[in-house]
């Protein structure tokens, strides 16, 4: 399940969305400049300690990494077997730190504030045909509909299990896609009905 904004009064909650996004981009870039495991380990521990400082539990920190655990495990094994175990730890820690920091920004920032910040930040792209308002709305819809997509997928799987089909990717993907496309039509009507003009 996607974790969204958790209300609170910590300094991270009060920090402007634009600042948090810029810091995230900067830290994300800096993490890729290090070649040694020590600064990456320090960054990961620092990212974890920020959670209690933002009045968020460590369980919530773990919830940010858990969905990617299989990808991290595969990455760890491949790097360990093909390169070295030292590099494997280094790469996995770096990804974990990034996930924790990105999760922290999402959990402490209202999506409307984040979208306003992104819309302002992309304003300079308007002359080349990018509509920042549309980009902002697309991000908001993605955040809103990830849990809905998960729920639709669960419904379709349950319906198939009830009819004796235990696992079939095609039989899941097609009905989910059809339902989401129908939903997309309704959502576009709903956005229109609520006075949205790009």
């Amino acid at each position: 399940m996607l974790d969204l904004y958790v209300s609170g009064q910590s300094f991270l909650h009060r920090c402007p969305a634009g600042v948090k996004l810029l810091v995230l981009i900067a830290v994300g870039t800096v993490l890729f400049l290090f070649n040694s495991i020590t600064p990456i380990a320090v960054a990961t521990i620092f990212a974890i300690t920020l959670y209690p400082m933002a009045t968020l539990s460590l369980a919530r920190a773990w919830a940010q990494v858990r969905p990617a655990i299989w990808i991290l495990a595969i990455l760890f094994l491949v790097q360990g077997l093909l390169v070295s175990w030292h590099i494997a730890v280094f790469i996995v820690l770096r990804f974990a730190a990034l996930l924790l920091l990105a999760g922290l920004v999402t959990l402490t920032t209202r999506s409307s504030d984040m979208i306003d910040a992104i819309t302002r930040g992309l304003h300079w792209l308007r002359p080349i045909g990018v509509n920042p308002g549309k980009v902002g709305l697309a991000i908001s819809l993605a955040l809103r509909f990830i849990p809905v997509l998960a729920s639709v997928t669960r419904d379709v799987r349950e319906a198939q299990q009830a009819r004796g089909l235990e696992r079939s990717l095609v039989a899941t993907v097609i009905p989910v896609a059809v339902r989401m496309l129908k939903m997309a039509d309704d959502i576009s009507d709903a956005i229109d009905a609520r006075g949205y003009r790009p």
């Binding site: 969204l4 904004y5 209300s7 209202r110 999506s111 409307s112 709305l137 908001s140 819809l141 955040l143 809103r144 849990p147 809905v148 729920s151 939903m183 309704d186 959502i187 009507d189 709903a190 956005i191 229109d192 009905a193 609520r194 006075g195 949205y196 003009r197």
Partner: protein, 224 residues
């Protein structure tokens, strides 16, 4: 008043609505009919979500063809599935969406958000993720999202279809307390108890039109 003049609607080869002419001036109007009878398409015509293939729809003199934005300011629309209507992930952000589109100030947005959520005993849910609300709460949020835009008319397309009995009653109470003119497309005949006018659709045409006392017994006979 909403005026429908000789309206037909065609999707591809299918005639969804045929030569409909009506004046809607009552405060509570119900649209009933079997699945595929054209009632949802008719509802969508009323705020310009769908434009007629022939004829005109006018809301207080504004034609949906060329004044769509102004019409949608006047006519709010509540969809069957609230999940398809809630655009933002957090309750109060979703309420703010329509008001921002209409250029309300930040102070106005805050005031109206609180006022509307309090009205439906949902104030404590203002920072709650929308996807974690119950079905009834989601539908109340969808209705709230329309109400904050201060429309004169509210069109609802089967708003209780996905709800249990308790939530249906909750929505029915919310509808009856609305100050606006309500045009409600529904299968739920209990929901239209006390309405001023009921219009029945069959095969894209009006087959019944009158008070609930006149229309509902005939409709039940038709559906038997």
């Amino acid at each position: 008043m909403i005026s429908i003049q000789n309206v037909s609607l065609t999707f591809g080869e299918t005639n969804v609505l045929r030569s409909i002419s009506l004046e809607l001036s009552e405060r509570r109007i119900a649209i009933i009919g079997a699945n595929g009878s054209g009632k949802s398409s008719f509802a969508r015509l009323l705020n310009g979500l769908v434009l007629p293939t022939e004829g005109d729809v006018q809301v207080d003199g504004l034609n949906t063809r060329d004044k769509g934005k102004d019409v949608r300011r006047k006519v709010g629309f509540v969809f069957q599935n609230p999940d398809n209507q809630i655009v933002f992930p957090i309750v109060e952000e979703d309420l703010a969406f329509g008001m921002k589109n209409l250029g309300f100030s930040k102070a106005e947005i805050t005031r109206k958000t609180e006022e509307t959520l309090r009205r439906y005993d949902m104030l404590e849910l203002r920072e709650h993720p929308a996807h974690l609300l119950s079905g009834g709460q989601k539908q109340l949020l969808a209705i709230s999202g329309v109400l904050v835009m201060e429309p004169d008319y509210i069109v609802m397309d089967e708003p209780t279809t996905l709800l249990d009995l308790r939530n249906k009653r909750r929505i029915a109470r919310a509808i009856s307390a609305l100050d606006q003119t309500v045009i409600l497309a529904t299968h739920d005949l209990d929901l239209i108890d006390g309405f001023d006018r009921v219009i029945g659709f069959e095969g894209g045409q009006i087959c019944l039109d009158g008070t609930p006392a006149d229309v509902i017994p005939k409709y039940k006979e038709m559906m038997a």
